[in-house]
């Protein structure tokens, strides 16, 4: 009788195990579990190089068809994945409980997203991209065409396969090794709102590109998207450190284009292998927080000569300030070295703004004199650098004026007044004497 009960108990315990698996946490920012939604299971083999590079870096990939009714990113209020890859450009509706709202909530809670669109991108994918700040061309049949920067190929002559090499200049996002070969791209283009400060063009189109339907005649009106306003791959870094990559081409991730040689039209350089694999791999490292993720700890301040943090400063005090900034290297926290971290001593406007000097081991420090104004101040560190998570720290501290007995005892400019008062007293004594004893 006890054996079935024991088996039942064991089964229950085993079902809890998946929830105990370690995942994204503040101490280890790199994502672990990723849900990949495909609209065709053949993508698993035609894009196998991309997936195997992710798996070799330690990610757990969960492949599902986009209209699988068992899709769920959230269970009992907790997210089951740290990242989402949508390689399903033609899916109109996701299966299960996922929709545009669900994807946006996923990103808003700090998780990462990779979206790939294509020439037949559905409204669902376009809406998700629009909510992230990226506007695809409204014409559903338009693709990016470039007649002077296309990839020379024997089979395709309509110049929709583009060789792009206008990368974003950032070692954090794209790695410190320069990408020599151009990246092959075939798909739709998008534009970014210039007022949006959080979205960046990772790969731009050349000035001679434009977005049009290649099989129809050009209309008399100029195309709405053209030139360097077209972005081929964009990245978004949200204020909660969620990172999103939106690409207009699903083929860019495929094995065929990873392995293909590339020669840009008009140039004599022929590359054996396109830059796609390096570009996609480095960008996915950045997206999944293996690079460029900062944390700041130990924000401390104290009076010069003391080691404890006081609860209040006095005007004209000398104080020291220090903070430690670390960067996640993919496996451990290493010190972040930078010359332009600044601290503000702020009350409605910064009274003191100083650049912190570093000791190379992640400790940033400076010292300054408290200004001659009293009130409630804040130590503020606002650090926003391209490709890094933004740091926004603040610590409040009140500043009091001089106490009654902290002024100088005798004021030099008042000596004549002191002299006059005492001379009046002396005069009074002398006058009394003279007056009384005058004959």
């Amino acid at each position: 009788m006890a054996a079935p009960k024991f088996a039942f108990l064991l089964l229950n315990l085993i079902s809890i195990l998946p929830l105990l698996v370690s995942s994204f946490s503040v101490d280890r920012p790199t994502d672990r579990r990723i849900l990949v939604l495909l609209d065709d299971l053949s993508l698993k083999s035609s894009h196998s190089l991309f997936f195997s590079s992710l798996k070799s870096r330690g990610f757990d990939l969960d492949f599902k068809l986009a209209d699988d009714p068992a899709i769920a990113v959230k269970r009992y209020g907790q997210y089951m994945y740290d990242g989402l890859i949508l390689l399903s450009p033609s899916t109109e509706r996701f299966g299960g409980s996922l929709d545009v709202e669900g994807v946006l909530d996923f990103v808003d809670s700090g998780h990462d997203l990779i979206v790939a669109a294509d020439a037949n991108a559905s409204d669902l994918i376009r809406n998700i991209a629009a909510e992230c700040g990226v506007d695809f061309d409204e014409d559903p049949s338009a693709v990016v065409v470039d007649h002077s920067s296309y990839a020379v190929s024997e089979t395709e002559g309509d110049h929709t396969l583009i060789a792009a090499d206008d990368f974003i200049q950032s070692d954090v996002i794209l790695g410190n090794k320069k990408i020599e070969a151009p990246v092959l791209f075939k798909g739709i283009g998008h534009s970014l709102n210039p007022a949006n400060s959080m979205v960046l063009k990772a790969l731009s189109a050349s000035p001679s590109s434009y977005s049009t339907n290649p099989s129809s005649k050009l209309s008399s009106q100029p195309p709405s998207l053209y030139g360097t306003a077209i972005s081929l791959v964009s990245v978004v870094q949200a204020r909660n450190a969620a990172r999103i990559m939106i690409s207009g081409s699903l083929d860019m991730f495929s094995n065929r284009l990873f392995r293909a040689g590339v020669q840009k039209s008009g140039s004599l350089n022929k590359y054996e292998k396109s830059g796609n694999e390096q570009f996609i791999t480095e960008l996915s490292k950045w997206i999944f927080h293996e690079r460029g993720h900062l944390k700041a700890v130990n924000l401390r301040h104290n009076k010069v000569g003391e080691s404890e943090e006081p609860s209040m400063y006095r005007i004209n005090d000398d104080l020291e300030f220090s903070v430690e900034i670390f960067e996640w290297s993919g496996s451990s926290w290493v010190p972040h070295v930078s010359k332009d971290v600044q601290v503000q001593f702020y009350m409605m406007s910064p009274y003191v703004l100083k650049t912190l000097s570093t000791n190379g081991k992640g400790l940033y420090h400076t010292s300054f004199k408290v200004p001659d104004v009293y009130g409630v101040f804040q130590f503020k560190v606002e650090y926003q650098k391209l490709g890094y998570t933004s740091l926004s720290l603040s610590k409040q501290i009140p500043v009091r004026p001089f106490k009654h007995n902290e002024y100088e005892r005798f004021i030099t400019t008042a000596f004549p007044y002191y002299g006059a008062s005492f001379s009046m007293m002396a005069g009074f004594f002398i006058f009394s004497g003279v007056y009384l004893y005058n004959k």
């Binding site: 004021i411 400019t413 007044y417 006059a420 008062s421 001379s423 007056y435 009384l436």
Partner: protein, 116 residues
């Protein structure tokens, strides 16, 4: 013509004042000297403040008011002690001097406190 007449009148006025003043008793002259000393000190302090600025304003007020208060008390002593004054005919001059001393004590106490 008119100008020399005015200056002649001024001279005559000045001489008559001087001779009248010479007739005042000695103790009143001593009080007058004391008053002059106090007022001169006050004027010097105001000139100093005009140059340097009023930074420790409490000290400035204390210094000036000590001079002004001394002058005021000396003037009241002079009024009470003057024999030509009908109003204070019955007041013994010792009483007037005692009042003067007490008031000066209070004045200097306040001045030192406010000097800062």
């Amino acid at each position: 013509m008119g100008r020399s007449a005015t200056t002649k009148d001024a001279h005559a006025l000045f001489h008559s004042l001087r001779s009248a003043y010479a007739a005042t008793p000695n103790n009143l002259k001593i009080i007058d000297l004391y008053i002059l000393f106090a007022v001169a000190t006050a004027v010097i302090q105001v000139a100093y403040m005009a140059i340097v600025g009023s930074f420790p304003f409490n000290s400035f007020l204390s210094g000036v008011l000590s001079c002004v208060g001394t002058a005021v008390l000396a003037v009241s002593l002079r009024i009470q002690v003057n024999k030509d004054n009908k109003e204070f005919k019955d007041l013994p001059p010792e009483r007037a001097f005692a009042d003067f001393v007490l008031c000066n004590l209070v004045l200097h106490l306040v001045i030192i406190n406010f000097l800062g």
